[in-house]
Structures are given as C-alpha cells and as structure tokens.
Symmetry: C2
Subunit: 197 residues, 2 copies
Amino acid sequence: MTQRKLTPRGRERRNQVMLRAAELFAEKGYHPTSVSDIVTSLGVGKGVFYWYFENKEELFAEILRGAHTDLRRRQRVAIGDEPDPLRRIEAGIRETMRWFHEHRDSFSLLLFAATDERFAPVLRRNQEVAIDDTVRHLKDAIVAGQIPDQDPQTLARAVIGVLEKLAHSCLIERDEPLDATTDAAVAFCLHGLTGPR
Amino acid sequence: MTQRKLTPRGRERRNQVMLRAAELFAEKGYHPTSVSDIVTSLGVGKGVFYWYFENKEELFAEILRGAHTDLRRRQRVAIGDEPDPLRRIEAGIRETMRWFHEHRDSFSLLLFAATDERFAPVLRRNQEVAIDDTVRHLKDAIVAGQIPDQDPQTLARAVIGVLEKLAHSCLIERDEPLDATTDAAVAFCLHGLTGPR
DNA sequence: GCGCGGATTGACCGGTCGGTCAAGTGGCCG
DNA sequence: CGGCCACTTGACCGACCGGTCAATCCGCGC
C-alpha cells in the first residue's frame, strides 16, 4: 500500500529489499527479475514485498529516483564553490565517473531505464535536471568567453554521452579501472567544448 | 527449426515477421512484446513464427545483426575513398546520424541490447567491429599529426557516445530533426579529437 | 488429377508471473 | 497481563508466456 507508517525496523527492511532488488535488476535485468526472485533471495515471504511497495514498477522508479538524487548531491559537493566554470565542469565530470564506478549497479539501471519507454517519464525529468545543472556552468563559460556561443543543452548532452559510453565500456563490458579513461574523457570533453583555441 | 529450405514466398513472410517484430520491440520493448503479439498483429497463427525462427531471442539477435551490417555498409559507402582521415571520420559521423534518423527503430533496439546482459555477446562483437573501423582512421590521423597521440579505442568510444546520446535525445525523447544537432556533434567530436590547435 | 512438401493453423501444455489475502506472530505500551 | 498493530507468511489465483504439434491447406511439378 501507499505511504505506510513505518517503524525503524520497517524502514530497515524496506532498504534491504531495495538494495537487493537493485542488485538483481543490475545482474539479470529488470524484466527477467521476478518479485519471487527478490523475496526468495532475501529468505522472506512475498507479502513483505507488497507490504513495502505498491508493485515492481514503483519499486524500480524509486530506485532510479534515489540513484539520481545521490549522484546529484555528490556532484554538488564536488563542485563546491569553485569560481571557474570550466573547472566546475571538470570537477563534475570526475565526480560523475567516480560515482559510476562506486555504484555500477545503479549506473547500469539508469542506462536500462533510458531504453524502456515505461520509465521514460521518471528518467526524463531526472535527466533534464542533470542537464540544467551542467547548462548553468556552460552558460557561465560562454559569458566568460571560455567557450564559443553554442546551444548549451546540446553540449551538456554530448558530455554526458561521452561519460556514459566510456564508463559503460570500462565498468560493464571490460571491468577495468576508470582512472586513465577519466582523464581521456575530461580532455575530450573540454576540447570539444572550447573548440579550437 | 534451424536452416530451413525457403521458397521466395517463404523468404518474404520471414521478412514480414522480422520487420513487424522490430517495430513492436522498438515500441513496447523486447521483454514486454510476446510472440503472440507479433503473430496476432500480422494476423497469422503462432506456428508461422516458429516455422521461421528458433525462438524470440534468436529473432532479436538476427535483427541486431542485420541492423549492424546495414549501418556499417552505409558508413563504408559514405566514406568512399576520401584521403583525409579527419574528413573520413566526419563523413562517418554524418552518415551514422542519418542512419539513426532513418532507422530509429533499429537504433533504439541497439541501445536496449547494450543494456541487456543476454545480448551482450552479439552486441559486443558488433561494437568492436564498429570501433575498429573508426580506430583505423584515428590511427591514420595520429600518424598524420592531425590529432595528438592518445588511445584510439577510447577516442572512438567517446565519439560513439556523443552520437548515441544526441541521437537518442533528438529522435526518441523529443522527436526533433537531427540536422542542427549533427553539426554540433561533428564540431564537438572533431575538437575533442584534435585537442587544442 | 494426384501427390509431395513447404507453409499454416490454433488448441493445447507446463510453467511462471504479478499480485492477493486470511491467518498468524511478536514487540511494545497502557 | 491484554490487546493493538506493525509486520510476516505462503498458499492461492487468474492471466499469460514461450513453445509444441497433429491436422490441414495449397501450389506446383509430374
């Protein structure tokens, strides 16, 4: 049911279910993972799931929201009060790659959600927020004359595309560290943004 | 069954099924689309499906292979015998974006396949081929001194990331034309590759 | 016109899925 | 101690899924 009263014990259980569900979704995929899979792997009855969540879809949407919120908070902290817009962007890029690395489960869930029309509404809103975050710094950089005047939304999406693809390739396809790749991503994106100096 | 003898009529029917399946997969997603959905929407019995295909998974893999083969052929034609490596890359980028636009169904299927561990083997091989295509031109460009010496695989992936993200945003999220975005993608990628001039 | 074999039908099957719910359990508070 | 209520159980349900197959169709070569 929706909006249930939860004791501390209940809240902990709810978290358990969310965490395990995220693991299984990342491992086997959203659709192939059944509610029975989730509860069985926790050794609890199926009623537990439906006590804490409306259904499978709502649970997944909540995992997505949580992941996005966490990533955004991390970016905000990493950027701090750096005055130079380009340096803010670089800090954001590096922190994003670090987050992808630390939360590769959530990362792969975000990638999947982008391909499923069912979760498009949730994800679209998340992404627009993320893009607006970046766009703000891009506009500052344009005003400061650091990068030529172009559509900042498109630029922001290009940067995100680079990060997602490189992280996907390193973390999910090849299971390699991100350090060297992060430097390459930063260089590629910054030059892509600034154009011919 | 595997490798059946097919009359011309049979080959046409097979194509019908593949095309409609691709549409439905792109529209509703792979998992939520049942074999019954496919045959019912064609107004034929379920046996038709299993006459031409081993199962749902094999059909999807074949759609993927077909899409990849077609895209690669188009890129090869577009590049022609252009001698300048950077210009070859630009031609490849533009043709890729055009293909994404003309085959947005196949495009969204490729994106989904990248997130599903089940199709990773098929897709991985496809992608490696696509990356090697690009890497060859990148190495030429490095030798020619047009771009600094960096890992060409990473560069190729970065470029593909930009294209996929921008195309996804225009074609699937917002249903907008690609022309202006393609120019932006070309500029971003070329500058990202060449670095500070 | 007959028969062969590619092509088609759709009822049927075992299994699984998401989701329900009546029946408990146990910790806490009065 | 008693009763309340957050929490848990797991059998159960109807729907649907991927896949099978015996029966039938039908175009074509002979």
